[in-house]
Symmetry: D2
Subunit: 460 residues, 4 copies
């Protein structure tokens, strides 16, 4: 069966034209005009944009923080309703267990039967024994081509020291696995947290004070040096500050394979949000912390110029009432993270494309095309092109609405972007050719999402 999405304005990372997309089964088989003759069914997209389904390379559907766990893949319809058809999940290795085993046990148990978006996995190194670093060599054969390490979070199992980082980079380089790093200096944060608490500074705002920009800058420079010694590529996640971005850019200018992403919230929110009264600030407790308006501007410029190459969400669904409130008397107990996977397209379209900060091409690149490349998923994801999976968003640019948690599917009791205006809306979404959003409503099913193996050597 061949479906023709007809007369839409098709946007890729490099072009824009009115035309048709022909889908056969799960794949795009042609892009053009005058293709009616070879189509069985026609979907009219006139006056609408036809975009590749988004790839969010940074989500958390299984993260735990001091015993609290985020909403899982049973809420992944939120991603799809928001135009993101592929998510890449970080899975923390269980102590004493292999990374792949941790991942695929979880996959079997709670992902493959629940996922409503396609998905891939990052392995998070939590047990820094030799076997773990050796296992990195085997990951690509199982479709896992990225590992992540956390430089922050002193004392937690997922914290990595320089030895672990170096060993991971070493193995990864040989295996073609990309190392992603959460860059913050763990020791300094630990000291500043203790200082804050000892001084009675327990409010959410002190989260930011306890992890200033330089803790991120230091760790970023450190891992760039480690990667340079190994000769390995490295990917810096969730860059929040101009100085950090400049470190990455300088490294690239030196010829080093150093890359980074930022996230929607770092482009839109700032430390003032953390200062909101009545524990509202807790909604914005995430790491690294929100920065300043001047950093926002620098980050918009950075994504526009390619100094950072993806905009993710770091989606992390903790409830405010039942979970964030753990830290009501001590910000260090507030689970870190905020939801956002549902709003990425709408926010970037409204505040990026419609303000002129990003061209539509650049938006598509940051939203889908380059994240797919970064993850080794570009053989099938991230682009409206021949042979690609038919993951397609029909975006109706008309009208506008207000983001409200009531209308959200993410299963969390608050929305990070509550009250923000959104221009246009996701009208339809196809996931590998299947219509899963229609007239703005999710109509897919649990299990529609499929594991997509990532290929190695994506950033070499």
């Amino acid at each position: 069966m061949r479906t023709l999405i007809k007369n839409g304005t098709i946007i890729t990372a490099i072009d824009e034209f009115v035309g048709d997309v022909l889908i056969e089964g799960e794949k795009i088989v042609a892009v053009g005009t005058k293709l009616d003759a070879i189509a069985d069914e026609i979907v009219d997209a006139k006056g609408k944009y036809v975009l590749p389904g988004g790839v969010d390379q940074h989500v958390h559907y299984s993260f735990e923080f001091k015993g609290e766990r985020v909403r899982g893949f049973e809420t992944s319809n939120a991603a799809v309703a928001g135009g993101t058809t592929t998510v890449v999940e970080f899975v923390n290795q269980e102590q004493g267990k292999g990374m792949a085993d941790t991942i695929f046990d979880m996959d079997k148990k709670e992902v493959s039967n629940q996922a409503m978006a396609d998905y891939s996995y990052h392995a998070v190194v939590c047990d820094p024994v030799d076997a773990t670093f050796e296992e990195i060599n085997d990951l690509p054969s199982k479709g896992i081509s990225t590992v992540k390490l956390f430089m922050a979070y002193k004392g937690m199992p997922f914290h990595s020291d320089d030895e672990a980082l170096y060993k991971a980079l070493k193995s990864a380089k040989e295996a073609g696995v990309t190392v992603m790093v959460h860059c913050e200096n763990a020791d300094v944060i630990d000291l500043l947290q203790k200082k804050m608490i000892s001084e009675g500074k327990t409010d959410p705002y002190y989260h930011a004070v306890s992890r200033p920009e330089r803790v991120e800058l230091e760790a970023t420079q450190r891992v760039i040096n480690l990667a340079a010694m190994v000769g390995a590529p490295v990917y810096i996640v969730h860059v929040t500050a101009e100085s950090v971005m400049e470190s990455i850019r300088s490294a690239k200018n030196e010829g080093l394979p150093v890359y980074g992403e930022t996230c929607v919230q770092y482009l839109m929110l700032d430390e003032d949000d953390l200062a909101k009264p009545n524990f509202e600030g807790a909604k914005y407790v995430m790491s690294p912390a929100l920065r300043t308006k001047s950093d926002q501007e620098a980050l918009w410029q950075a994504v526009d110029n390619g100094w950072l190459n993806a905009i993710s969400t770091d989606h992390c669904g903790f409830d405010w009432k039942s979970q964030k409130h753990m830290g009501v008397n001590d910000f260090t107990n507030i689970p870190n993270g905020a939801p956002g996977v549902e709003n990425r397209l709408g926010i970037l379209w409204t505040y990026g494309v419609n303000t002129g900060k990003l061209s539509k091409q650049r938006f598509v690149d940051l939203f889908a095309t380059t994240p797919a490349k970064n993850m080794g998923l570009d053989h099938c994801k991230g682009h409206i092109g021949v042979g690609m999976d038919a993951d397609i968003v029909i975006y109706d640019p008309n009208g506008s609405s207000v983001i409200s948690n009531e209308n959200s599917l993410h299963g969390v009791d608050y929305s990070t972007f509550e009250g923000y205006k959104q221009d246009g809306k996701v009208a339809k979404v196809f996931l590998r050719g299947k219509l899963v959003v229609d007239e703005g409503a999710f109509i897919g099913e649990k299990g529609d999402g499929k594991f997509i193996p990532g290929k190695p050597f994506a950033l070499c």
Copy 2:
């Protein structure tokens, strides 16, 4: 009539897939697979690459130097045979005459009836009176959206001082015209030339000594500052040196709309070529001068990373015997420039793609896609996409040959890349749907090439 180029490996600036391109009349109407049913004729491209026709944004078919004139559009079949289907020609304004009038009088007289490639024009400011700067406002309506100024060449009509540069940038900004600049300090070159000649240093090699890297660096920094004061974009042509590239990159990092290209020869040749005995060096007399091997490496890295965004040829067809020899006793009389339009694809494929310095995507971007954008031609040129002109190169990667002037069409008595190996060959070229190269041989006709108007605001 619909022609289907079938089963080729199609390369765009962002993807690569085996598929078909469907042409109707002058346009590409679809890209996909399984399109046979709607095609009238089929061209088999199996095992070959299907590339967009090249766009060379920097050629000289009408340049004069001390009374000597280059080969004109009657040799533009060389471009096409080499896979370049669109060239952009610099036309020096005649004194006392409007830029557009100069261009279109020439167009009528010697271009429209001769051209075998499509073409567009840059207006070169030579008569820096107020009327000239005012005319810049009218150029886009005539399809001219770039002007060029020369900071070098003291005493020649096409030399511009800072006043002219500033005025041009000012008008251009308002009109959406891009200012392109040849950056070299005219005063210093003039002094050094006189010094060389007075010391009896008359050989071609002293051409390089008389225009060292810093003359280019200084002028580049100067025009960046001028453009920044005006708030205008500026495009630096033929960047030859690492330091110059770094100036452009720094300006971009500051947020300024500053861009630059390099040329094939600066990636491949160096000052040693200028030192060849028996006046062979004269073949390589061009401005700016050839630099060092270390600059070559920096430039390859720059084009790969997008710090420079196009690779042109600065094609300039002077004969060695009858024309370059004017300067046999005085290098300052050697006409500046060298031919190259025919070899751009072959050289970049062989020494860029096949050495791993450029991905095939990046090659296409630098060879066709971004030059088309820079010139305001991307509405129809530079990309294998729906609605684009059917300018298509079928490149057969098999086999290799040696570049030799005997086999060249450029009408010049020497080849800049004589003896260089070339992997693969141009098998077929379509120009707006018409087959103009077949089995490697040019089969088009004079007049096949058409003027393509450039749209303004390309780099804003």
Copy 3:
């Protein structure tokens, strides 16, 4: 006769101690304690600072602007009363006359018999013929070891183009002469001035608008490149802006012999002063123009760190009423420059030393020691050391006063720093051993000042 200045706190560029200075004739013969036995006369300096007499490397006692001339050496007692015992005067070459002849004719006529401070000369290239550049070789033998060129002031005789700059740098390098450059892009200023006037923007404030920071930055980068090509040192006068200072610092970091000064007014005043109503702004019309408070901070940091190595005054005594008012309807006719030679010590002490921005050592270095070195005068000037000229200031740090033109000796009808507080005061000044200021009053005579030849190769 031996005079002992006793028990003062002696400050040099590297130390500070309570002790005595022994003077014999014109020279310092010893520095120490317990020297009474070998002294004939004792001057008590207890509780006061003993400083080297200041060296102001940048003053104008003979400048003309559109026919108007500044106050001359008959007002040089102002320098001395303000603690500056040596000034270096810029003498514009007369057309068709040698630089040395211009200087020494003037010296005879109006300097040697008038000067109350010691003085040296800079030769300003105004007639860029070959003979002028050749003459540079002879200057050191006549005690002239610096030449100056103006990149600004299009159309005026003292404007220099790149050819003149290059030739001057070339000759100067061989002769060991230091080239000093006033860096502003003449063409752009000329265009912006015409634009302002044509738009009716005639007030003094538009002086700043017509010569923005980038005109200074551009010219600075240009001359750095020219000097680098020649391999000559270059000294950038009156740096006003952070960006310009950074250019100089970067050049130094590259290993180039590039140096610069700033002036008191750029540390203290800003563009708001130019906006003062009732033509008061004209008092602050000088070139380059005053900048912003943020530039002031950057410049204080720069002098503290040695990124700039002297603080001069660019003293230029035009009357407000009779001379600055020439430009009452057209700011381009306002003579450029402002007086300040009398206030350098007081202002830098009060706003530099007493605010902690400069140590006393650093102050002495910027006020006297390094300017003397820059000028080739350090064989006798700028330092309280054995064998040096006995140019000594006894500064009483107690009390404070307000700067007022009434109390000034500079012969101009306004003071640039009117109303500014000054901590302490100049109590006594010795000029080559002669007491010329006592109890704060000038008691010297015309002709006390002597020409001090500058030695070549000061900055090599």
Copy 4:
């Protein structure tokens, strides 16, 4: 009793003149000419240089490495014979004992009665408990105003992690204590050492391979970030590489109080020395490791320009035969360090001053004046000035010799600079007015050296 050193060429950090130095007791009381009348005794220095006694801010007379201990203060006559009259010793805190107690117990036991040079102390943090960081506040009152931490040496007691660094910086900032840091990434070195040994790469040369430049660069950037967060000054010891120096310079350009020294060996030797056969390379095993000739050039430029502000020796006297040979089968067991305190003046004079790399003033500044300032010793050390300690070197510039261990006093069985030529020689040395070297021979006694307390807030 007053002694007059007469007619020498006196060099300070800013001047040079022929004159006399008058000593009374331990102090310099006057500098001048014609002081015979007030002197009791005259020492003729005609034709010789009169220099301040050197201050070596970085020596090890008590260092232990895997149970082996260096030669102690009983060999400090070597320093004096080499023109260094003050040394600053690093004392590793004993576990469970206060830093001051460790220092002064040692002082009593083996320093005060042995020292032949004046000395001061750095406290090395080895027991990172709270009491240690609190003790930092008390150190200045005991004359200890610097603490040192080692980022290298994983697993050894003197290794510090980021927590210790941060805490030390915090306390030090308040106390005015300067933190000095040995910057190398401990984890990476540890991994690379194990790798080398496991691969059978046991020769001294692999010492350098196991601690590449980037381990130093990384740690330097890290501690700069930590210091910036605290707002504390930081002093980077023994900078070996251009990149590291550039990091320090950039930090300074940002306005941060970051400083650094290099050592004689990093200016003179390189990794080739480590490759010498027959275990000769072990003589050059020190940390950080020797680098390249290109780094040497960058370091010469850095000290000349003040980007680094002292040249120390990191003197460390291990015997080659009995001690270095511990590591004959495993370079990680070679005690780190090399002797050099005796050769600093001779080497810097010969290869710095006499080659034109350093002016004599700059040499004095790097050798004595600024080290004294860095250490808070400038109230009495580092300068030939009134009121200073009469620590004076009379250097005879005539003749030359060859450095040979036979003629050395350092008590070690090899000389780091064996065979290097030395121009001139130390003729006489006065230590606080006492003649301790005469005709090149040491004539002082054990116990002549005195503890000199350092004042706090030296680098604030």
